[in-house]
């Protein structure tokens, strides 16, 4: 097993009296794509926010690249790259200015050639002077991913990165994630797409009602649960898929 780039241990998160995350523990290793799946309100965004340092957990520990998130938050953040669910850069700035801003923040010195290479890698070599607000959704997602990777962090957090993308852009993003994995980055991915999770994740954790229900490789998850009555009931095409297992384990009801 490779070195852990993220270690979450005994995480508990409360919103007032409501406990959103209950004793969650998992690790993400270098060179793997780890999927965190769960219905709306299951606790995945809260867990991710705690890892990102946006939310203070009531208890538990988070280590990123060996740094304790509570004791060395800036070091922990320097060792992760984040793509948030909503693309969130200053719409008045150009693509080049945004790349330069985050390069500076992460302490990466960029020459004009480096910048050109980065923009070429996301097929925006002719759009460096375009304002971020003028880009399409897919182009914004690519900028967001390149910013998350600008400092080559050991851990990359991708929060529903393919939502709203067309199939071509989604496939392209999967390929980028696979390249990152090959380079040894650990990726924590949240997604609602079971197809995506099954296609690219090495391991998956299913979280529901704030607790991790199961963690395994996708094929094992299907194999282990294929004979459960609730999974068979969820099956629509005769063949058991990851989505059937997910529905079977987390229930049919719609969450808010």
């Amino acid at each position: 097993m490779n070195q852990a780039v993220l270690e979450v241990t005994g995480l508990n998160i409360f919103y007032g009296q409501f406990q959103a995350v209950k004793d969650v523990s998992f690790s993400v290793y270098a060179g793997e794509i780890f999927g965190l799946l769960g219905p709306n309100g299951a606790g995945k965004t809260s867990s991710l926010s705690a890892v990102e340092g946006l939310l203070k957990p009531a208890s538990g520990s988070i280590h990123v690249g060996g740094y304790d998130n509570a004791k060395n938050p800036l070091n922990a953040r320097a060792n992760m790259g984040v793509q948030l669910q909503a693309t969130s850069f200053q719409s008045e700035l150009t693509v080049s200015e945004i790349v330069n801003l985050y390069a500076g923040i992460y302490g990466v010195s960029l020459t004009n050639e480096n910048l050109r290479d980065i923009l070429t890698s996301i097929k925006l070599q002719n759009d460096g002077r375009k304002r971020f607000g003028e880009l399409s959704g897919g182009q914004q997602q690519r900028v967001s991913l390149v910013i998350a990777m600008i400092h080559q962090p050991p851990l990359v957090l991708l929060d529903e990165p393919t939502s709203g993308l067309d199939p071509q852009s989604r496939r392209q993003l999967w390929e980028r994630m696979e390249i990152l994995r090959e380079k040894g980055h650990g990726i924590l991915l949240t997604t609602h797409s079971m197809e995506e999770a099954e296609a690219i994740c090495d391991r998956i954790a299913i979280i529901d009602h704030g607790q991790i229900v199961t963690t395994d490789v996708p094929a094992n998850l299907i194999e282990k649960n294929r004979n459960r009555p609730e999974v068979i009931r969820a099956s629509r095409r005769g063949k058991i898929t990851l989505e059937d297992v997910f529905i079977g384990l987390t229930g049919q009801e719609i969450r808010s």
């Binding site: 340092g53 800036l74 969130s88 200053q90 801003l101 923040i105 302490g107």
Partner: protein, 251 residues
Amino acid sequence: MTSITLPSNKVVMRSLLRADFTTQWRNRKSFILILIVPVIILLSWKGLVDKFGGAFVLSNCITVGLTAIGLMGYSNSVARDREKGIFQRLRVAPVAPSSIMVSRLCVQLAMILLMTTAVFIGGSYFDQITLTPMGYLLGYFTAFVGGAVYLGLGQMVVGLIKNAETVHSTSRLIYFIFIMVGMFGELGVLGKQIGDLVKYSPYGTVKHILASSFQPGTWDKSSTIALLLTIGYATIFSVLGIRWFRWNAAK
């Protein structure tokens, strides 16, 4: 994969400042709108220079400009960027929250400097109001002190209200009340009681210290009281604004 070391504060700050100043430059139309009101007052009050003095006219114009920068410029830009998630994106990077805010405040201080200079130039050009070098120097200093009151007030507005649209309309309303009650109260149009209240309001105290600093020889005990009150307002507004402020617009 090797662990990454933290960049220096200087590098981070330089990047933030460059981005914030560029954003402000791209939004320069809104700053021009902020500048228009004090300049219009400067032009329309030309006739009052002889009656009330140049310091009175200049101090009112700058106070109106400071109110606009704090309430219309600062609060709206913070509310808008918070709603867009720009702060959250910065906060997941290795940036201290204080650096994000210091960079924002630096932009506003530059705006105060520009607005005050524009009013000084306009006052000299259109109304032939000139001050001594010390008057100009102290004028800039008190403009920054007075600006802190309205930046604090703007911070309080974004601390209390999360929705950017509501921040926008609320800050406009407060701005309108401040300048209307402040200016007309100062002129005695709203009666003695309101006039006395205005004297000790954030509008009145800022206007008072500005007017006194333009003519350092006129600085007296009431100017010192106004300065202390101004610092008090700035402190209270800032402390409450920071305490109530949430980086995320979502509940």
